[in-house]
């Protein structure tokens, strides 16, 4: 493993007195909001634990890119321990969008009403209609590529801004196999450009070169990670991003959050602001709050940790697919959004894969070693994958707590308990059966399945009731003035889609609420 690459941490902090808003974290939660607030003329700054990773410094090599991930050790407990590091974490200016696959399906209207519809799970305190204008805005701004007509989900106000990206080998196999069994497919919505787009603060982002290493960082800026989109805009509009700044505590005064203490370049510093937005993700956000017993009168901080059902099925095919080419997931089906006998459902995606990721997953997932391992890996060019992304209900038995074990920075390591419920097991079994059938039809051999949990969600849920939730439906902490939370810790349920697009939409919505709190006269005018 490579050491974290230390990009240029700007040596001295600029004058950051009299900040209106301080944002902690620059991922899909913090970045759109930062841009919105800066554009409205507020004095804003963001603290980011990681450093900058400009596209020109990104290697086409998974080991060299380890610095994109949160490598401070986390402890994984429960019946289905969740892997972190290269699976479910991010660190750097842009957060985990530096290495997300940029799948950007919208949540469906019924994802927000699971409890009303089924009596299980929870409803969101907002609807698809509340988010739709923000989905429109994000898709246009970051440049989502997708089909002219998307067959599933809620109403759209228009087509995707760019045509779909080319479908790679695994996608073509999935398309053929799905057609045989009557499952509809479509080119996926993906936030990588199929044609160039001008981006304020960054310049011209080129069309995707089909490099296929989205999950190790994009080297051209074609992928809409937040550093080349919302953060570039934020900085162009006057926001300051302080990188290499590991927050170790929130500052409080008489019960109000007034800033943050952080370590940067070995020195401890503080910043004060009128409002603090915590956007550090569903592990670091609750960790910080639990360390200080903040915003937790509901007892909900750290509770209801969720991770999507993410079973993958892999096989070897005769075709020379070269799974490193093209965006990893070019083809999608959401015909399985609701399935009988299961609460919620899943989406189905074709899967490209980088060599080290495939090799280590195969070794871990099958326990194969010796000549059998290297003989399998020799056939990497013939690997075809397919996977699902499925809803996950919130459970009392899944939670994050502080362990007694300090990390290298002296902060308690988080311990995350996670065990799929009966519903997720039924969903995963349904998905595996379907995908094995599809891959048999595609002519795959040596087929194997990797049970997997993806994304970190929950742990500071939003809701109307301060007794049962940490923040209100816009992100204000119920019980702690001066504090807002804007990241996927606030998800009350997991949704049956990848979370990044929804998180960006929520971030803009939170920014609008924050602006109306700070400038009530503008709202009434």
């Amino acid at each position: 493993m490579a050491p974290e690459r230390t990009g240029p941490v700007n040596a001295a902090l600029p004058d950051l007195r009299d900040l209106d808003v301080l944002v902690i974290g620059t991922g899909a939660g913090g970045a759109p909001l930062l841009a919105r607030l800066a554009s409205a003329g507020l004095r804003v700054a963001a603290l980011e634990a990681g450093v900058r990773h400009p596209p020109s410094g990104i290697a086409t090599d998974e080991v060299a890119q380890a610095g994109l991930f949160w490598m401070d050790e986390r402890l994984s407990a429960g019946g289905d321990p969740v892997g972190f590091g290269r699976n479910n974490s991010g660190r750097g200016v842009g957060g985990s969008t530096l290495h997300y696959t940029a799948y950007t399906p919208r949540a469906h209207p019924d994802d927000f009403t699971l409890h009303s519809d089924t009596g299980q799970g929870v409803d969101w305190p907002l609807t698809y209609a509340d988010l739709a204008p923000y989905y429109d805005e994000v898709e246009t701004f970051i440049g989502v590529s997708g089909p002219a007509e998307y067959p599933w989900g809620g109403e759209r106000s228009g087509p995707y801004p760019h045509p779909p990206l080319p479908v790679n080998g695994a996608g073509l196999l999935m398309e053929r196999a799905c057609a045989e069994v009557g499952i509809r497919t479509s080119p996926a919505a993906n936030a990588a450009l199929s044609r160039p787009q001008e981006q304020e603060g960054f310049g011209l982002r080129p069309a995707c070169s089909n490099r296929g290493f989205c999950q190790a960082g994009c080297s051209t800026g074609a992928k809409a990670s937040l550093d080349v989109t919302f953060l570039a805009l934020a900085e162009a509009r006057g926001a300051v991003i302080v990188d290499g700044a590991q927050v170790v505590a929130l500052l409080t005064e008489g019960g109000r959050v007034t800033g943050a203490r952080f370590v940067r370049g070995g020195r401890e510093e503080t910043l004060h602001a009128g409002t603090v937005v915590l956007a550090a993700g569903a592990v670091e956000t609750p960790r910080l709050l639990l360390m200080q017993g903040l915003a937790n009168s509901s007892g909900q901080v750290g509770r209801n940790f969720m991770a999507h059902v993410g079973v993958q099925v892999w096989g070897l095919v005769d075709e020379d697919l070269r799974p490193y080419r093209g965006i990893p997931g070019g083809l999608i089906s959401e015909d399985t959004h609701r399935i009988p006998g299961v609460i919620g459902g899943y989406l189905l995606q074709s899967l490209g894969v980088m060599p080290v990721t495939y090799a280590t997953q195969f070794a871990r997932g099958t326990g194969t070693w010796g000549a059998a391992l290297t003989e399998h890996l020799r056939q990497y060019r013939h690997v075809a994958g397919i996977n699902v992304l499925g809803d996950c209900l919130p459970y009392g038995h899944n939670y994050l707590e502080l362990s007694a074990e300090p990390d290298a920075r002296g902060l308690p390591k988080p311990r995350v308990h996670f065990t799929f419920g009966e519903n997720e097991r039924r969903m995963a079994a349904h998905a595996e059966t379907l995908m094995r059938d599809l891959w048999a039809r595609a002519g795959a051999r040596d087929v194997w399945a990797l049970p997997r949990a993806a994304h970190t969600l929950g742990t500071a849920r939003m809701g109307h009731d301060p007794r049962g939730s940490v923040v209100d439906p816009w992100g204000r902490a119920h019980d702690t003035p001066g504090l807002w939370i804007c990241d996927n810790s606030t998800f009350p349920s997991a949704l049956a889609v990848n979370p990044a697009l929804t998180q960006m939409a929520l971030s803009l919505r939170t920014a609008d609420a924050l602006l109306s709190d700070l400038r009530p006269q503008q709202v009434t005018a």
Partner: protein, 174 residues
């Protein structure tokens, strides 16, 4: 690594299809060797013999055991561990201690029997070690060459259809 292999790898890495950051990372890895600093000499010898059985390779070509030792010495982690398991270094030591003291001198069959027993007795440590060795193996430029993997030559990019190849993709490899 034969001189022909080395020449082909260097030609690719120094060629026009590899970006500067990729070239830097892979050139540094090609001949990387590590001094033993974490394990005792006895443990290291067992680890190296086990590594060769787990992920067959020539330690003179790929210093996978040194890579593990170097990581533990530097205190780097991969971001998580099973809560039920001790820290990586302790877990690996316990795994090695479960193997016969003369493991390195055993024949292949006896070594594999001992490793199978260790896989059952120390599943988490075994899985972590196997994954770590596999990563070192798969990420090495020599493995890429021998497997005909050209993905690192990504400039200016790829076509994606299964029957559409760039010449550098088809010709790279033995």
């Amino acid at each position: 690594m034969t001189s022909a292999e080395r020449a082909a790898i260097l030609a690719a890495l120094n060629g026009p299809h590899v970006s500067a950051p990729t070239r830097e990372a892979l050139l540094a890895r090609l001949d990387a060797r590590y001094e033993r600093r974490y394990f005792t000499e006895a443990d290291f010898r067992v680890l190296r013999a086990a590594a060769v059985r787990l992920v067959p390779h020539d330690p003179d070509e790929l210093d996978l055991t040194g890579l593990v030792d170097d990581r533990l010495h530097a205190g780097r982690t991969d971001g998580w561990r099973y809560a039920a398991a001790p820290p990586d270094g302790e877990a690996y030591r316990a795994l090695l201690a479960s193997l016969p003291a003369d493991f390195a001198a055993l024949d292949d069959c006896a070594q594999d029997d001992a490793l199978r027993a260790a896989q059952g007795a120390h599943p988490h440590a075994f899985e972590d070690l196997l994954a770590e060795l596999t990563e070192g193996f798969m990420a090495h430029p020599l493995t890429a060459y021998r497997f005909g993997y050209a993905g690192f030559m990504d400039v200016p990019g790829w076509q994606v259809a299964p029957d559409a190849f760039e010449e550098r993709e088809v010709t790279y490899g033995p």
